[in-house]
Homo-oligomer: 79 residues x 2
Amino acid sequence: MKARVTVTLKNGVLDPQGKAIEGALKSLDVNGIGSVRQGKVFDIEVATSDASEAKAILEAACTKLLANTVIENFQIDII
Amino acid sequence: MKARVTVTLKNGVLDPQGKAIEGALKSLDVNGIGSVRQGKVFDIEVATSDASEAKAILEAACTKLLANTVIENFQIDII
């Protein structure tokens, strides 16, 4: 079963990488961009065909390794 | 208008970061994970209310900066 985990910064957490991308886009003459916030995405193959079991495994993976839950949110989508 | 741009490695391109995550999850006793491939996600605020104009701006941003189109695919979702 395939899943996509998206990890994004919580609102209010500063994102210097996103700010750098905004500046770079401006200097590359890409106009019309407001704010940019960068996150991570993980395409994961889970070795089970049960969706709720897969979600449980992925939640464990997120809280233990993939996301820093103090400053980041994660979202799990089975695809 | 808000959009989410997802940049992922093309099939066949090696992903050592994903392999490292697989190994780390195993050593953290998270079982049932097959392969992991990591990508990037950008939450972008575009200064237009026209969806096709927004897509054009974001495509320019992707090809110029956000994605290396030799080894990466990008996907634009207006949200």
